[in-house]
């Protein structure tokens, strides 16, 4: 078994997703079966194969260094669940 309780907790923590214990159990089961299933890729020898990251064969397009501030802070903050004095706001962080 690749995924145990510790692993699922670690991944959930990295993903910032809170899981209740029922969910944890379900996902342990699901993830293990998915990981077992994808195991079949090891049947293929990929020693000299270049990984394919993007199907596009063109070169990275670059833009000119022209600045424009076209969005007001009101627009940027429009959908924010919480905003104060032109800032987004979140529970206080202690560094």
């Amino acid at each position: 078994m690749k995924i145990d309780k510790n692993t699922i907790n670690k991944i959930a923590r990295l993903s910032r997703i809170k899981l209740d214990s029922k969910e944890s159990e379900d996902y342990i089961k699901d993830l293990n079966s998915i990981l077992d299933w994808v195991e079949q890729l090891n049947e293929i020898n990929t020693d000299n194969v270049e990984p394919l990251t993007n199907i596009s064969s063109s070169v990275l397009p670059k833009r000119d260094d022209i600045s424009e501030d076209i969005h007001s802070s009101e627009e940027i903050l429009k959908n924010a669940p919480e905003k104060i004095e032109g800032f987004f706001s979140v529970p206080k962080v202690v560094e």
Partner: protein, 474 residues
Amino acid sequence: MKSKSLKETIKSLEAKKISIKELNDEYIKNIKEKNNLNIFIHFDEQKIIDQVNKLEIDNSNKKLKGIPIAIKDLFCTKDMPTTAASKILENFNPTYESFVTQNLLDDGAVFVGKTNCDEFAMGSANNTSYFGNTINPLSNDDEPLAPGGSSGGSAAAVAADLCLGATGTDTGGSIRQPASFCGVVGIKPTYGLCSRWGITAFASSLDQAGVFTNNVEDASILLESISGFDSRDSTSANVNIPNYSKNLNSDISGKTVGIPNEYSIEGTPEEISQIWEDAIKYIESKGAKIKKISLPHTKYALPTYYIIAPAEASSNLARYDGVKYGFRADEINSLDEMYENTRGKGFGKEVKRRILIGTYVLSAGYYDAYYLKAQKVRKLIANDFNDAFKDCDFIVTPTAPSAAFPLSASQDDPIKMYLNDIFTVPASLAGLPGISIPFGKDKNNLPLGIQILGKHFDEQQVFNAAYCLEKSYE
């Protein structure tokens, strides 16, 4: 009387046989009548009327002027909320219009609403939506069927006659499979043909916008509208968009058609094999040469996809954190608690499953074994197609391994659910254009679909072949 053809409707409008208002009033009526199918996440009659009123006094020539179009709720739209069928984007009102929808607006389309889909396009049955399942319009009263997914709402909207065309997105089959389930035409063009700007991302290297219509010609008209280069998307292709509808030609004589051996999969229902055979025979009768081809890495496409897509998704969905927009959970005493509760409650089960698996395959110690491995296999799968296309002009396969299944069918086993994408995923990994057209019926008289795949940016060939095949049931 209105026609189900987008092209015919444009003619009627131009000839003033019907007004934009009359046309859209009918669709509004249909939408209200079919409310029980749960096809729309957002429908606001007044907004349609407002658009119609503006177009009625607009004297300019616009290709799609007044044509009612449904928009998958993955496309960000300025005048309608956008949710990606997720609680986490509840009440999100974009201040911008996606490239694809802006093109449609520029061409004079009327947006009738935002269609239901799987949450963040993750699903094959439209059953992961926070807003509930869409019901396939072809269902009997006693047995509601799934419309397929993820663009199930858009496919259903076309099938139920609630619009003349709809947008969808296809990451692993999310246009082609629901098109097949709902008995409509659905095309996913080459990766990069339509800008992804303004489309809520699922898996960036695979996501591609496309359209649903009632026939091939309409699809070619709509695809022309939404395609094109966009400097705001670094993966957008800078290619000329042919006039697909004008060039449409059902003559495929002399073409070579690839039939991949590996798509004959054990356990595929007899009816699926039968329609595939029928399609091949029909194409052959129209003068095309049939060629057996091999795509040796086909069986590895699904596991490859289910590593790459979740990995990209785990990162793409990190922005939904309750800070800038969307849902934020209540009980939050710290930043981390805010994240964990917001994302824990804001995402549905399948989305969380994919974020978790994606996080795992990218995490330290596993990257090479899973993610890098999958990218290498993806290369082999792409190479298979490159090799095959040296000897053929297009490829014909079934679209899905079954007809629409009942909503009640258990989807608890994720792998079983993922198998729905078995015929569509390989082309997604290779970035190829693919269309699904209705072809034949199963024993319950439900539509089945044939998929036609083409070379990169050879949408014209895909349309032509589909156009030919479509004529077989006229």
